[in-house]
Homo-oligomer: 350 residues x 3
């Protein structure tokens, strides 16, 4: 398929006033890595010099852009050049285009209902699993018994989805992630631990993206839930019976302990730890390595530190602890001064 | 197989005084999610209202339970309703029942000795590996050369066990976990790092459970050991030559550095870090994100913070650093007071 | 192949003055676990007693070693006994020896160029991937479209390498690691997140070793880079567009956020968090759980804590915050003293 400048201008609703509408675009790149045939974008004024130097054939620029030097590339004007660029990437440079095919070394159990576009070799679809239309299941995945996957979902290689888990539509799950492993539940009996069977499942709603090598445990009973539009980075841990609200972003290596409910529209930096059985208000924001140990009842708070507190409180506290040696010196000074005064009073008396 | 109320009462040694011993139980659920045919349990007095509302057909209740309102379900009396419920789950709702079968796309090397009940497609059992009776190896696993697995052990999909590692009986290993990767050992030579070969192994004793996406490294020489009955959550890191004592629980994303010995009956919250070459006394308990940087010689301590200290000390310390601004104000006040007194003495003299 | 003491002495350039050059060495072990036929080493004077007790047949010892008691093993003198021992391990006890073979249940796309020594069953080499000579690809791996792997590289089971990523020569990647998953990039649009396509790749240079279950994300555009000779432990997170300099060691569970450049010859303890868009000077050293939140401009610093500071500053700060209760008592004492003095002055006046 041939992609022309005119076609790109039309698709992205950008303004092209040049005369090379038939120019072919064959790649997308940063300005500084552009080659003949590649499309770029210019958004940050700090890098304006790059637009005069780039080898890209065409570049998205802001509507208000006015060249201060000659440019050697075609200009596509758009209110949001980066967004327009992303649209082109998504539509034309998507690596996940596959022919309609179940490869012959994939295993699909006879009772499974599989409408996927692609199932790679060495993937295993177990009994009664249901996979919707246009799904792409890369090689080496395991989809457990009675698991359900919606439509247009992409599962990268070596993902494991345990039995009964439900994955929505337009979900992306990166390689090595495990969904539905047993929750960490044991009853202490005479100093040993007896396993509490984990018979619930995991529900991942539509438009969620999950990074690589994450672990999301199934509920003891009921469901662990990742709501609509939420994005998880790599190596994230979600324990049993957790609910993560909609349109929340959770950076890498963060862990959420059992039964905690995280409100929607929240943001967590990397390596945060959130305790068990908590309720976190919507629109909560926590910095990297924050340790949240209690309920967060007021929305829109910005937290950091362990135990997590308001960012400004935390910084004061850090600054404070570093001033203690100064305070100790000041107190020593005061003691001497008081001693001197006492002596003086005594000598006055005498 | 049909499971009746009478059979459940007998198996769990619970007391049933109704007349519906032939009632069929087909599912297990929370009280609030019960349906006709399902079995539940009631343990926490806080949720007593649920027993009057549930759609469950039968419910385990404490021996001393007396209904304050009419109940619509059959009651099974037991000293520990949750424990009785778990027994039924384990015996009758276990998802890991498989026919005696090695699936035809599994690969078992001719020199391997494999008595497993089930080996899924795309699992690879390498040279001279030994797998005991009644083991279940899900699809996509790799069991290395000379590895040994006991009996009744369950290995979920895409687990990797490197050569020479030894896994006990009644062990559960969740998906994506890696056992026996090389310890992180390098010798600095002229500013570069030369790999120190890791020729030891990992020993996982009986009744251990390991979560998903964990990494347990083989010893440089000798063995990394996880002792009897210990439970590891997801994404846990165990470095080379570590020994974790018996009946210890380690929550998600905790890491233990090389050669550390952790005493039995200990508990670690999520995201703890334990330094290398340490000895941790038995019955140690550490809160989430604790960083243990020295030996713990006294058993039964409760630790938190980094560097980890006694929980009460840590809380005082956190509270303390937040009071520093107040202290600074107080010291300013004292200075002024002393200045005032000095002036007064001077004027008295004059 | 028979390995004799004379051969070992020659290969390692160690000095052997005994008469048993034909002695066969069949294993390598710690002194305390030695058996007849095994080779050990003695380096740490603290463990000198072991050399008098060991069952090893031969032991590397320092050039200056003089036995204070009778020894029952042959002695090989070397300036660096451990290094000599490692040489023998690497040359003769390497577990990664494979016949030239692509196993018949591996899948190699017809357009791939594969010169590997070994590709295990259930590994999938996708379109146009290139794998150099003497590579070993264990079972269950996925090598994406247009991915490139150099020579003498070892890829352990169930590793996933996404499309277009480039892995150097003499690289080791442990099981379950994922290279090239999408960077965590989303544009907020009306309270939802729109995926920013990640069209870059990952470049892993020669002599790098990466532990098990790591995640290294592909760049948004351009490349995420792990430079020559760097070593990553298990469960490490490297975000998109990060560059890690040469000969750097990064311990387990550390995470580096997007676009950060880490200078070469650095060292990071376990569970460190390094913020995004930072520049870290070469030869930086950070303790376990350090949280680096700003640029590090001076090389050779030793950092710890969150926000990370110089180790000595951090320890003072921790000590300081623990002294606050004492300071509060001292201030109370000073107040009383001042009050007493004031009273005394008043009574003097009177």
């Amino acid at each position: 398929m041939i992609l022309t400048l005119a076609q790109i201008a039309q698709e992205t609703q950008s303004k092209y006033i040049g005369e090379k509408g038939n120019l072919q675009i064959t790649a997308a790149s940063k300005l500084e890595e552009g080659k003949s045939g590649s499309l770029g974008f210019f958004a940050n004024p700090k890098y304006e010099h790059l637009i005069y130097e780039t080898q890209c054939s065409a570049v998205f620029v802001p509507l208000e852009f006015e060249a201060k030097q000659p440019v050697n590339c075609e200009l596509l004007y758009h209110t949001n050049p980066y967004f327009a660029f992303c649209m082109v990437l998504t539509n034309h440079f998507n690596p996940n285009i596959h022919n309609q095919e179940v490869e012959n070394q994939a295993y699909v159990h006879p009772t499974a209902v599989c409408k996927a576009s692609y199932i790679g070799h060495f993937s295993y679809i177990d009994e009664r699993a249901k996979i919707g239309a246009n799904c792409i299941i890369y090689p080496g995945c395991y989809i457990g018994k009675d698991a359900v996957i919606g439509e247009h979902t992409v599962i990268y290689p070596n993902v494991v989805i345990y039995s009964k888990c439900e994955i929505g539509s337009n979900v992306i799950i990166h390689a090595g992630t495990v969904i539905g492993s047993d929750g960490f539940g044991f009853a202490p009996v005479n100093g040993k631990y007896v396993k509490i069977p984990q018979i619930g499942n995991v529900i991942v709603e539509d438009w969620v993206e999950i990074g690589s090598n994450c672990s999301i445990d199934r509920a003891t009973m009921g469901s662990t839930v990742i709501k609509m539009g939420t994005k998880l980075d790599n190596l994230v841990q979600i324990a049993h019976n957790v609910e993560v609200g909609e349109h929340t972003v959770i950076a890498s290596q963060t862990g959420i302990a059992g039964s905690t409910k995280v409100g929607g529209y929240s943001q967590f930096g990397g390596q945060c730890g959130i305790g068990g059985h908590l309720v976190i208000a919507p629109h909560t924001s926590a910095g990297g390595q924050a340790g949240i140990t209690g309920n967060i009842t007021t929305p829109h708070q910005k937290l950091t530190g362990t135990p997590a507190t308001d960012v400004r409180e935390f910084l004061k506290s850090v600054a404070g602890s570093r001033k203690v040696p100064d305070l100790m010196r000041e107190i020593e000074g005061l003691k001497k001064e008081i001693h001197r005064i006492s002596e003086e009073i005594s000598s006055n008396k005498a």
